[in-house]
């Protein structure tokens, strides 16, 4: 029942996101345009070529970050973990900064970010390897260390280049933005996202048992080592695709799993689905706000999420801590 309610709210959020923007379109016109794609009109052009791909991207990014955050938090049994733990964002940011400075053509930059993010996650996972599995503490340490190294590289580049369009491009990736993205980005990231979500689905039964701790999970028959690799691979793939689509959008991967747990509890079977739906709806709304709050100027979505998300999250978390015996 709660899942259906959340799904309906998410659909509503997607529709709202399609309606608002520099040109307001009534929900009825949006609805008409969605079901009559071949009608030639300004509304159809805005909905199909500008808004819909962007809302799809917001939804995909939100779902990917929500699911990968839930998986890593579940695997490490640490509610403070976010999808960028495996160094994906830092690796992608460093590669994007280098690419921008070297003058790589804009259409290649998301793909470069994707590859670099994934490569960083692989290095972090290999550094965290213990025996045939992954050591949780090593994973966190390797992720933080490599992220710090790449963040330093990005800072160095930003201090060395002249303030101008290159610096603006890098900062726009760092702050996260869905501006200027279209169907092309959706199409090339979709296969990776589908593989990521597919692998995430395979992890669900093991994640459910990992709530009891690694030793107990092993005792009841979970191949913990294999599950860890599967979880890290899936989370890294989803996060790298999300970064390629929207830059480094923080807090979604941290907050959405917490919100989802408050709605459906900790059972991974319901949690993952809710994380995907909630993440999609949350990002669609945030993007709508980013487009309209200071229109025609866009607020970077990452900045907006930090401004709204963090105080709400802290309120929820501290309120819960005070009311839980």
């Amino acid at each position: 029942m709660r899942t259906i309610a959340v799904a309906l709210l998410a659909v509503l959020a997607l529709l709202v996101s399609l309606s608002v923007g520099a040109t307001a379109i009534s929900p009825r016109d949006v609805w008409f345009a969605l079901f009559h794609p071949h009608v030639h009109s300004d509304v159809n052009t805005i909905v199909w070529l500008l808004r819909l791909p962007r809302v799809c991207i917001a939804g995909l990014v939100g779902a990917a970050l929500g699911v990968s955050g839930a998986m890593l938090q579940g695997m490490l049994r640490n509610p403070l973990v976010d999808p960028y733990l495996t160094g994906v964002s830092a690796g992608a940011a460093a590669a994007i900064a280098v690419a921008v400075v070297l003058g790589v053509a804009a259409p290649f930059i998301p793909a470069l970010g994707f590859v670099a993010g994934l490569a960083t996650a692989i290095i972090v996972a290999v550094l965290a390897r213990r025996g045939t599995g992954i050591d949780s503490i090593r994973l966190i340490l390797a992720g933080i260390s490599l992220s710090a190294l790449f963040a330093a590289l990005v800072t160095l580049i930003l201090t060395r280049i002249e303030q101008g369009s290159a610096a603006q491009t890098i900062l726009s990736w760092l702050a996260g933005s869905l501006a200027g993205r279209g169907w092309h980005e959706v199409l090339w990231t979709l296969p990776y996202l589908l593989v990521g979500f597919g692998l995430a689905t395979l992890c669900i039964p093991a994640l459910n048992v990992l709530r009891l701790g690694d030793v107990r999970a092993r005792a009841v028959g979970v191949d913990v080592d294999r599950a860890q690799w599967l979880i890290v691979s899936s989370a890294s793939l989803l996060t790298a695709a999300a970064v390629a689509l929207g830059g480094i959008i923080g807090f979604v991967g941290l907050i959405v799993p917490h919100m989802a747990r408050r709605i459906v509890g900790t059972d991974t079977r319901s949690l993952m689905l809710i994380c995907a739906i909630l993440g999609a709806g949350f990002m669609a709304l945030a993007d709508a706000a980013a487009r309209t709050l200071f229109a025609p100027t866009e607020v970077p979505i990452g900045v907006l999420l930090a401004c709204i998300g963090v105080p709400s999250f802290l309120y929820l978390y501290l309120h819960e801590a005070r009311t839980t015996p």
Partner: protein, 255 residues
């Protein structure tokens, strides 16, 4: 049920236990005792298939433990760990339901009728049926121990391994848990349990395995163990044995 021949166990190239030869038959309640650091937990982990053996052989129902797949192992051996790993705020029933993992293939997420029956029976066996909807993190230590036992029972494994199930428990709850284990042994399960309290072991176990000086010092009935002064040698302390009014054997440091 379990047979070991010249079994040796190592930790980081250090020989912990060696020349271990023993067999355990179905329905026995075995207590494993020995001084701190002798390797009791490692021994239990080796039987659970979670610690590689360094030499010799260790088999369960004729099959080498190392040759069992992870699922086969979980359906044969229920290893109940008494660590303090924080557990999510999950309902008791969900924790117990994890014991059914090995009975499902990766695409089978739904609980079957058989699962529901086994979980309900496991909770009833440990007298925790009325706690099934309670959140795990609201339970007392004794109740948590019962939940872990129910989780092991949900695995429907013929062998139960327990690492210090009575630590941190008050005397009444500890006795309830041990009585439950004895009942399970009498109903056909084999129970191997690491204990620190010698008197608990003497009262409840069928046989005591005493580990000392990198091997099995003795593996015998409680009466024989006390009579031969094995515990004195194992712990390096003079112990005095007495019989209580009910005839139960008790030992105390005599100094």
């Amino acid at each position: 049920m379990i047979a070991a021949s010249q079994l040796a166990l190592r930790i980081a190239n250090r020989v912990l236990l060696e020349n271990m030869n023993f067999s355990v038959t179905s329905g026995e309640f075995i207590a494993v005792l020995g001084p701190n650091g002798v390797g009791k937990t490692t021994f239990l982990r080796a039987i659970a298939g979670m610690h590689d053996i360094a030499g010799g052989s260790l088999s369960i129902e004729g099959r080498a433990i190392g040759s069992l797949t992870i699922s086969e192992r979980a359906r044969t051996i229920a290893f109940m760990v008494s660590d303090d790993a924080p557990v999510d705020a999950m309902p008791v029933r969900a924790a117990v339901a994890s014991g059914r993992y090995a009975y499902h293939r990766w695409w089978e997420w739904r609980e079957t009728e058989k699962d529901a029956t086994v979980i309900a029976q496991a909770l009833a066996d440990v007298h925790m049926s009325e706690f099934s909807a309670r959140r795990f993190d609201t339970l007392s230590s004794g109740e948590r121990q019962r939940v872990w036992l129910a989780l092991g029972l949900a695995q429907e494994a013929p062998l139960l391994l327990l690492d210090e199930p009575t630590s941190h428990l008050d005397v009444r709850v500890a006795h309830e848990i041990l009585q439950l284990l004895r009942q399970l042994a009498h109903s056909g399960k084999t129970v191997i349990c690491v204990l620190h309290d010698m008197n608990e072991a003497l009262e409840f176990a069928d046989r005591l395995m005493i580990l000392s000086d990198r091997s099995i010092l003795a593996f015998d009935t409680p009466a024989a163990i006390v009579q031969n002064g094995v515990l004195d040698r194992a712990y390096g302390i003079k112990l005095e044995a007495v019989r209580s009014a009910t005839g139960a054997l008790r030992v105390f440091p005599s100094c």
